[in-house]
């Protein structure tokens, strides 16, 4: 591996509940997300994709194992330290309800910097605003934007801090195909042009096809990987996985 890891995890395990209700969401996952790459994570519902992402991103703590953002190990950090790490070094795009409804688009975009008491780098901010193509909508409230536009604003917010890694959990899950395509090409361009690292969970093979690499997850374990994938090969692999899940 020539490039360094923007984020990685070793033997990550996450167990929910106890006794009867015990669920192993992650069963010892070791993975690394290469800097400057768009990685997609796929897998059946309940396979642990979101859990993996949350643990690596510092939103949740693993039951055992370790994870890193850059070279910061997360399990040692306090809640405040994790929060500041998220603010400065991680970007998020969720499936929906990403934005604070009382803040305008631009205020939402610069929120992480605002929280840190920093000013945005004008050239960088300009580049991002150009990239999301919403210059004339910057002073609108989220309620006045379409779902796709809101997701692009969320994307801009994730980009503004030049984070080590951006995590996106089904960012196109609530969008139509056109808005999806717009958002995905935006993520793609942030990797290509802004040298960002993106990790994206998705159910949609067409979305995964934008990635440099696809990881497949099943029952809390990494069960496969595809490099430079296209939609068809992804679909094949998915069918494979589901078939296996049924026979087990």
């Amino acid at each position: 591996m020539t490039r360094g890891a923007a984020a990685r995890a070793v033997e990550l395990t996450k167990i929910y509940g106890q006794g009867e209700a015990r669920v192993t969401a992650l069963a010892g996952v070791t993975v690394s997300f290469h800097a400057g790459e768009l990685t997609a994570i796929m897998g059946p519902s309940g396979s642990g994709k979101s859990t993996l992402m949350h643990c690596v991103a510092g939103l949740d703590t693993a039951s055992s194992g370790k994870s890193w953002i850059g070279d910061t190990e997360l399990s040692a950090l306090s809640d405040d330290a994790l929060t500041i790490l998220r603010r400065d070094r991680v970007g998020f795009v969720f499936q929906a309800f990403n934005l604070l409804p009382t803040l305008t688009a631009i205020e939402n975009i610069v929120l992480p910097l605002d929280l840190a008491g920093r000013k945005p780098d004008p050239a960088h901010a300009d580049a991002i605003i150009d990239a999301i193509g919403l210059r004339d909508r910057l002073h609108h409230r989220p309620g006045q934007l379409s779902g796709g536009q809101q997701q692009r604003v969320a994307c801009a917010r994730a980009l503004i801090t030049k984070p080590d890694v951006i995590f996106a959990d089904e960012p196109t899950g609530a969008l139509d195909s056109r808005s999806s395509a717009e958002l995905l090409s935006l993520l793609r361009r942030s990797v290509d042009e802004l040298r960002q690292t993106v990790v994206m969970v998705t159910h949609d093979p067409a979305a995964a096809a934008y990635a440099d690499r696809v990881l497949f997850l099943a029952d809390g374990q990494i069960v496969g990987e595809l490099l430079k994938p296209d939609a068809d090969s992804i679909l094949d692999r998915m069918r494979d996985l589901e078939h296996r899940a049924v026979t087990v």
């Binding site: 949350h54 939103l59 949740d60 809640d79 405040d80 929060t83 500041i84 998220r86 603010r87 400065d88 998020f92 969720f94 499936q95 929906a96 309800f97 990403n98 934005l99 604070l100 409804p101 009382t102 803040l103 205020e107 929120l111 992480p112 605002d114 929280l115 840190a116 008491g117 917010r157 089904e170 899950g173 609530a174």
Partner: protein
């Protein structure tokens, strides 16, 4: 349907808790008011009052001979003369306590039901005395200790306290004696004239009839008891109405809180209601369900509130037990019933609006992800508010001149209240108008977010702030009136007296100023440096006019301009040449300088002289002022005090150290003594209005807690993108401070303006000659910030604990 709603209530007890607090406090206040007034009336008319007297005899000359005469009447088994005389208990500070009436302060001990020993025994020698319980505790003396008693002639004597008693009154206007002596001593010190004679016998009516023939007045025990009960009831009624006014204010604040809570609760469950509608619930059913929920809440709140009220009533009765009577604690079913009625009606009325909106939701809303009620329009409110304010202000302006008739006063005050109502209507609009610019100024991300959240739903913020505003506006307006009155009093006293003038006055305004004191002060001071203004009433006429009874003030002419410096408006101070009259008198009867006035003192020749001066507001002068030498011989009048110019306060005080019934005051001391009762009244009123403010504070807590609940997802995002728990807490805290301060600014603003009109109406001063109570205004604003911080404690903690993952999980 109803069951679904009740189950929903049970599932979210926290949401209801704060609403409950508002109902409980309001109902508690009402029930406590009822309990206190009932108990007070019951105490007076109960067994603790006297039943041992068949007939009370009163008359001009009641002597021991009268007593024996009466004892001889058929049917009379016992006759007891009751003597009163001057006696006052000297407290630890060397002065007479404020509760006594010295002229009737001493009496003779007897075995009647007048006295009920709390501890010790009856006095037996001239070295012993029994004291009334409240006065003794006020003076700080107990059984076995020595007490100093002032006699009518100014001398005082020490006696050992052997007993402490509580006193029972027979007639309504009887005052409570502070000291009881053994009969022999009483005969010496109080004399052998009786205030009344108490008879015991079997047939009261027959005895009373027999007495009427003797030229004496008689009242039977039954009649006296009825009198006492009547007086007690009317007193209790008065107290009840007074307290109910404050309870009403508390309930009004409570209504805002309840209405606001229901609005939020209904909004949060709009999808639930839409679902009910979609599966076939009719509008009326949904509406009735919400109202039923309010009624149930009202019932629960009233139950707790009634219990609280009974407890508060008991506490209040115990605390106000100063008269030494045995308290009867009365809880009437009516009190409880009214508590329930008020609690349920107020809650249902407050919830009605949200019930209508909740039932108006379209069934399809259940299918939408963002099911929400249509936004309430504020257009109607704004228009109503504008009309009310315009009308109210117009009424105030129309009556802003002086002097004012009764009608004009009513119109002015009514206008001010209507304008206030207008402000309540406009509160949502004002909230966005005031707070929008603030959100531009706010620098940090958290404070900006907080302000934005506060104006997100102006109606909600306005309702929360309005509850606070009601109590605050009233407190501020009363404080404005009180500080304006104080200012006027201070100014008047300062006008009337030069700074070097001292005043020797009775300890309490209703005490007499003994002649001996006046003479002693005069003897100590150079001639013409002493003024002893005295006052009384007299019939005044001018040609063709009868001025009826008017007050007169008589003063030494030489003292004016030196010892006393009262201002003059027209003419000049020339008491040797004629009378001076007050501006009010001059205005009312069209008196001018030169008008001839005649004073008709009783049993003296009329005095006629021209008006030589017209004076404005004065502390010393009242009515017609005349040269003291013109007073008919033997007419003493009531002295306001002895005023001495250039004396030394500590020397004078030392010289009068043996007089516990008078004090030496300098000008500032005089002003303080004048303004103290006003401050006391303001303190009581503010305390009573405190209940409304407390309810409103719970309203702020409620609004914040429900808002935080509503914004769980937002807070999750906020946390995910890097807001620490501390920042989340501080953003809720800022929001709370913004809401509370908005209520504070609105309340204080309205209060000062309301107070301006009130002082104009009461003092007939121009509206803007008010004195703003800056200390209170500053304190209240600071207090609102504290309220904001305190109200946010719990909601902010809840917000900070929001689980990021649960919040952002797409449900």
């Amino acid at each position: 349907m109803l069951r679904a709603v009740l189950r929903d209530m049970r599932a979210h007890p926290g949401r209801m808790a704060m609403t409950l607090v508002a109902i409980v406090l309001g109902v508690g206040f009402v029930v406590a008011t009822w309990v206190v007034s009932d108990s007070a009336a019951e105490t007076v008319s109960s067994g603790s009052s006297r039943s041992d007297v068949a007939v009370q005899v009163t008359g001009e000359e009641l002597t021991p001979e009268t007593v024996s005469e009466l004892r001889a009447l058929p049917g009379v088994t016992k006759a007891q003369g009751v003597a009163f005389g001057y006696s006052a208990l000297v407290g630890k500070d060397g002065k007479i306590s404020g509760y006594s009436f010295p002229d009737m302060g001493g009496t003779a001990w007897d075995s009647s039901e007048r006295f009920s020993l709390v501890s010790g025994r009856a006095p037996a020698t001239d070295k012993e005395v029994a004291l009334e319980e409240a006065s003794a505790s006020d003076a700080g003396v107990g059984v076995g200790e020595s007490a100093r008693l002032l006699n009518g002639d100014g001398s005082s004597r020490d006696a050992t306290v052997v007993g402490i008693y509580t006193y029972r009154r027979l007639s309504v206007d009887e005052s409570t004696p502070v000291a009881a002596f053994d009969p022999a001593t009483a005969k010496q010190t109080l004399g052998e004239k009786y205030s009344w004679i108490e008879l015991t016998g079997t047939d009261a009516t027959a005895i009373a009839k027999a007495i009427a023939g003797l030229g004496l007045d008689a009242k039977t025990g039954v009649e006296l008891k009825a009198d006492r009960e009547r007086a007690a009831t009317s007193e209790a009624e008065f107290a009840r109405n007074f307290l109910l006014a404050f309870a009403g204010v508390a309930l009004l604040a409570g209504m805002f809180v309840i209405a606001n809570t229901f609005t939020m609760l209904v909004a949060q469950r709009s999808r639930h209601f839409a679902l009910l509608r979609a599966v076939g619930a009719r509008r009326g059913q949904v509406r009735r369900a919400i109202i039923a929920e309010a009624a149930v809440l009202g019932l629960i709140g009233s139950t707790i509130g009634a219990a609280l009220g009974v407890g508060l009533g008991w506490l209040a009765m115990t605390l106000i037990r100063t008269t030494g009577e045995t308290i009867v604690f009365a809880v009437s079913p009516l009190a409880i019933l009214i508590g329930y009625l008020v609690g349920v009606v107020v809650t249902v009325v407050a919830a009605y609006g949200s019930a209508r909106r909740g039932s108006a939701i379209a069934p399809v809303a259940a299918l939408r992800a963002d099911a929400s009620l249509p936004r309430r329009s504020i257009v109607l409110r704004t228009v109503a508010g504008a009309i009310f304010i315009t009308g109210g202000v117009a009424a105030v302006i129309a009556t802003s001149g002086t002097p004012l008739s009764k009608m004009e006063r009513a119109v002015g005050m009514g206008g001010a209240l209507i304008a206030w109502l207008g402000v309540l209507f406009l509160a949502p609009l004002l909230a966005s108008a005031f707070l929008k610019p603030l959100s531009k100024v706010a620098r940090s991300a958290t404070s900006r977010l907080a302000v934005r959240n506060a104006i997100r739903d102006p109606l909600r913020t306005a309702a929360t702030a309005s509850a606070l505003m009601i109590g605050l506006a009233l407190v501020t307006s009363f404080a404005t009136v009180s500080s304006s009155v104080e200012e006027v009093m201070t100014k008047t006293v300062k006008n009337d007296l030069p700074a070097q003038t001292l005043a020797v006055q009775p300890v309490q305004a209703w005490f007499d100023l003994p002649e001996a004191v006046i003479e002693r002060v005069k003897g100590m001071s150079p001639k013409d440096s002493v003024a002893t203004p005295v006052q009384g009433g007299v019939r005044v006429t001018l040609p063709g006019h009868e001025l009826r009874g008017q007050t007169w003030t008589a003063v030494e002419p030489a003292a004016i301009g030196t010892v006393l410096t009262p201002p003059i408006k027209e003419g000049r101070w020339d008491l040797k040449g004629g009378f001076a009259v007050s501006t009010e008198l001059a205005d009312e009867f069209g008196l001018k300088v030169g008008t001839q006035l005649t004073l008709h003192f009783e049993e003296a020749a009329p005095i006629t002289a021209p008006v030589t001066g017209i004076y404005p507001d004065s502390y010393v002068m009242r009515g017609v002022v005349l040269n003291k030498e013109l007073l008919p011989a033997g007419l003493k009048g009531y002295p306001l005090g002895v005023f001495v110019k250039g004396g030394d306060q500590s020397k004078l005080t030392a010289a009068l150290a043996d007089r516990p019934d008078v004090v030496v005051r300098d000008r500032d001391g005089l002003i303080a003594a004048q303004t103290e009762p006003i401050r006391l009244a303001l303190g009581i009123i503010s305390a009573l209005l405190g209940a409304a403010v407390v309810i409103a504070v719970f309203g702020v807590v409620n609004t914040l807690a429900l808002s935080v609940l509503e914004r769980t997802r937002e807070i999750g995002v906020f946390r995910a993108v890097g807001a620490t728990r501390k920042l989340v807490r501080s953003s809720v805290r800022w929001e709370s401070i913004v809401i509370a301060s908005y209520g504070g600014v609105l309340g204080i603003g309205v209060g000062v303006l309301l107070g301006a009109v009130m002082q104009h109406v009461i003092l007939t001063q121009p509206i803007f000659s008010l004195t703003v109570p800056w200390l209170l205004v500053g304190g209240a604003l600071a207090g609102m910030v504290v309220v904001g911080v305190v109200a946010a404690l719990w909601p902010a903690r809840r917000a900070a604990r929001t689980d990021v993952l649960a919040a952002i999980a797409t449900a």
